[in-house]
Amino acid sequence: MDRAENEPRDEGLARLLEEDPADLYENAPCGYLSMVPDGRVVKVNGTFCAWTGRHPDDVRGRRLPDLLSAGGRVFYETHLAPLLRLQGAVREVALDVVRADGSVLPCLVNAVEVRDAEGQPVLVRATVFEATSRRRYERALLSAQRAAADSEARARTLQQVVSELAAAASAEQVADVVVRRARSAVEAGGAGLWLADPVPGKRVEGQPVPVTLAAADGLSAELLAELATAAPAGAELVRSGGVRAAPVGPELRQRWPGLAATMTEAGQEALVVVPVSAADDRHLGALVLVLGVTDDSELISLSEPGTRGALSPADAELLATLGRQAGQALERIRLYEETVRQAARSAFLLDAARLLAAPREVGETVEHLAELAVQQLADVCVIDLVTERGLVAPVVAHADPARRHLVEQLRDEHLPRRDGSHPSVRAMVEHRTIWARGVDPALMELLSTSPAHLEVTRALELADLICVPLMVEGRPLGVISLGADARRGRFTEADVETAEQLALQMSQGMDVAQRFELESRTSHTLQGSLLPPDPPEVPGLALAVRYLPGSRGADVGGDFYDVVPLPGGTDVALAVGDVVGHDVTAAATMGQLRSVHRALLVDRPRPGALVERLHDSWPLLGLPRMATALFATLRPSTGELRIASAGHLPPLLVTGGRAGLLPVSPGRVLGAPPGPAPEWSGRLPAGASLVLFTDGLVESRTADLDAGLDRLRAVAEEVAAEAQGPVDPDVLCDRLLAVLTGPRRADDVALLVLTRLCGTAGDGTGADDVAVLDPAPGPAGPAVVPAPDPDLADALDGAGGDVTVSGDAMRWSPARVEPPAPAVGFTGLDVAAGLGMALGLDPASVRRLVSGALHRLSGVAGDVVGELRQLARDVRPGDDEDR
């Protein structure tokens, strides 16, 4: 390029550059301002004036901050001025200059402080650049940044909600999460979640759905109350459609004036309703938020009052999503809870079935069922059974021990007075389930028969009540009432179904049990009526009798006893017996046997003869059962005693502090082919007692007969020792029953105890007083002095008689002989053992001896007796010689 060619241009440029400094200042491409240190403008260029539309006089003399927007003013004072003072310069400070017409000119400002020699500020020079595009760009950037931040916040909220909902294990937790997160996401003044009550059946169009508040945050009590009032109708509004925001305006004021007023009072400006629905769009409830003043922050809200009710579309979208998430979580939890409940219900019904299957009395079973019901199905359970007097004294139970006294009060005082309007009575009368579906104060009053009753009902906090009749073949057996209290909440359809299944199980179980009990009660009543109520007064004797029916349901026995003063007045006949079987037939047979026995006594037969006559007449009587019995005659004046046994347990003699079984040969059971009934005779010493009993007293399922007989002897001796003289028969009876029988008797017990009183006529100090059993103690049991010849001989004769055993008599010595002996040996062994004991021998060695002998001699009891006689002589030769 040619240098010469460029010359003229350079010259032109030089001319151009030699511009007027004043013009350069005035028309520079930026604004110039000069200020004194306090900010007052002292010089301004034309560019600034042109940009701002201000006259230089309008600018000069004013402080720079006064030319700025409010934000700029604050920034000038808090940042720009201090920085100038501290640093001497600022660069690129963004400020908004206000034009004459009020519009804003975005600028960037550079400024330097001119200082004097001492460093004191003398002037501030500032250049101002227009930065509209740049600021627009910055604002766009900023708004994009904020939008991104908001979007991120929404995404974070959603993420948090999803993860918290996944961890929620109950509807309450779901509600809490949604309410809290939704409120914070849109910075609402408050939020609450209302859920539609699960109402069974099809919803009736136009009928308000009852709703319940599940969680709330930031809503005052007044606002909650107003919202609750508006909720049922409000729920209709959101049944379809999305999120709705309703400002507190004429519409809201007209529809819910109270709500609008309360919201205005609380500084809330809009109501936002978000539907909460399940995946299949089923409406579950609504999330309600109020927008306006938030009390959470101590800071003043930036938005002007009147502009706080706005909801951005993005926030509305977020709320809608939260509503859907909440709905799905609620549905999941409901399904889960329903599954758990269903499993619990099945388990409950199974438990109930087990209870019903167990052998118990109806009353006991019902009590157990009531307890089971309050453990698993309800808080309160009342079971009424139909009695002759209607519904009285129901069985009650409460899940909370602290409230048990309340239901007991109901049972004792209030329920007996209920009338036909009570749901339980209606259930009985109408033969159908009555579900109160929410117990309100009105129903509580209806249920109550008195103020005291109402008080109890209120204290129970009953929230729901189901009454299900117990029906069998259209006949009501009773009614079961289940109550849920406020803490449990209302019953569900499934609960009612479970209650009905329980009622069905109970009805069937109770029907069987009640029939069974009826039969049992009839048998016992019959048996009771066949027994003599009280033994007669017999001079010279103290008598006591007891009869206990078996405790197992309908098991009744044919046990009996009898005491009959014989014609002539000197003797008294005694009897105990046991007809085979435990039913009404047994009881009836016993009654007949007793009648026949009494009839035969007219001839005053000896006991042996009595047994023979009974044997003989048995076929004629047509009695369907066999029986064992013990018959005796006693002359109280002398103590003369005769006993014959038809396969029955021998009586117990208590004398001189000792007790032992009398060696009465058992003879054959009545109803078996007749056989001889050897008669035992002896003398009952004055002051001695005789115990006649049936096997129920000494036999149990858990211990063998020997043990029972041992205990019988031991107890009798105990009582004798305590009495220190003649034993009171009543005392002995009671003690024997108390010790030997428990509350669960398998069998009946008949017990007759008599004591021959001292000082009876003819009972002096003569030979009559020679004791049958010697009270002198020996080391291994009651030592026995051989009785005077006739007595002892009789005793031994009796023992040595026929030892045929059959029927019931078999039962009282099942495991006595080892090794196994023929059946014939059983009774003989017992008798021998008793006799040996009477002779002062060790029962065990006698048993061994006799057992061996029986084996060898194959049931020839006479020889046994011979051996025993020899034994007795060997043992007590001196005694024998003395006599």
Binding site: P37, D38, G39, R63, P65, D66, S69, A70, G71, G72, R73, V74, F75, Y76, E77, T78, H79, A81, P82, L83, R85, L86, Q87, R91, E92, V93, A94, L95, D96, R135, E138, R139, L142, S297, E298, L299, I300, S301, L302, S303, E304
Partner: protein
């Protein structure tokens, strides 16, 4: 670790950083001198006091510090919850006094820090002997029956201007704003005296301009001086008068200094006014 009495009486531990480190506390002057605690306002840091505080160090125990988030404070100690209201800042003031075992403190607070002083005195009256408020405002936003000087829109615009300003953009955007190749400028901006974390600055601005402490004024139980500047665009005279009227027994001194920062623009006048007040209450 310093236990500080929370306003509900519970002891609260503030991280493991001492209040001294956390707030970049600087102490000068004779140990026996009456303590004066200078608290800077919104916008800068303790440097703001450099023309005033040293003058008092001759006969006072002078303590200056930075609010958390400003100047040399520990930004890591910034807890949005704690500093979401002026009470958190007032707690810091009390903690500093306790850490230094100061009593009978003359608290000198500029702008928003004047209200921190009000709260600190109410919280721990045993620590403070006098209160000097420089350009105080108990509430910036106008309300029916009250003039604070700003509408909500003004404050919103202010918050926006904070967002747009390079000082606040410094950390991330200073190089962009300064333009490539202009590293020195960027450096300078970042190293500015009044550097402030942008997020903290915005929060602090919210707390400053959106607090309402009018209700706390009548509870001030120590001698109080209200220093009012002329032509203060942030705390106009009507606001200073309001404070004076509502703090029982307070002294009102009108400065001829203009603007909002008399301690920078007119340090001598400011110092003289404070000394006059101290003489008055100490005599």
């Amino acid at each position: 670790m310093l236990p500080g009495g929370d306003r509900d009486g519970a002891v609260r531990y503030v991280r493991s950083v001492s209040a001294i480190t956390r707030n970049c506390v600087r102490v000068s002057g004779p140990e026996a001198g009456r303590p004066m605690l200078f608290a800077h306002g919104f916008g800068c840091d303790q440097t703001m006091w450099r023309a005033v505080a040293p003058g008092f160090a001759a006969d006072h125990r002078v303590v200056t510090f930075d609010h958390v988030g400003s100047g040399g404070s520990r930004i890591s100690a910034y807890d949005p919850q704690r500093y979401g209201s002026l009470r958190g800042y007032a707690d810091d003031v009390v903690e500093i006094c306790r850490a230094l075992e100061l009593t009978d403190v003359v608290f000198v607070g500029h702008s928003v820090s004047a209200m921190m002083g009000v709260l600190a005195v109410a919280q721990a009256p045993e620590l403070f002997g006098a209160l000097v408020m420089v350009g105080p405002s108990p509430r910036y936003v106008d309300e029916e029956g009250y003039t604070g000087g700003f509408s909500r829109a003004d404050v919103a615009a202010l918050l926006d201007s904070l967002d747009s300003n390079p000082l606040q953009w410094s950390a991330a955007l200073a190089p962009v704003v300064a333009g490539p190749g202009n590293a020195e400028v960027a450096e300078e901006l970042a190293e500015s005296f009044c550097r402030t974390d942008p997020t903290v600055a915005r929060q602090f601005a919210r707390v400053t301009f959106l607090s309402d402490n009018r209700g706390d004024l009548p509870g001030v139980g120590v001698p109080t001086l209200v220093l009012q500047c002329s032509q203060d665009a942030i705390a106009p005279e009507v606001v200073g008068r309001y404070v004076h009227e509502h703090v029982p027994g307070s002294v009102f001194t009108q400065l001829s200094a203009t603007g909002h920062c008399p301690h920078l623009s007119a340090p001598e006048e400011t110092t003289a006014a404070i000394r006059a007040f101290l003489r008055r209450i100490e005599s």
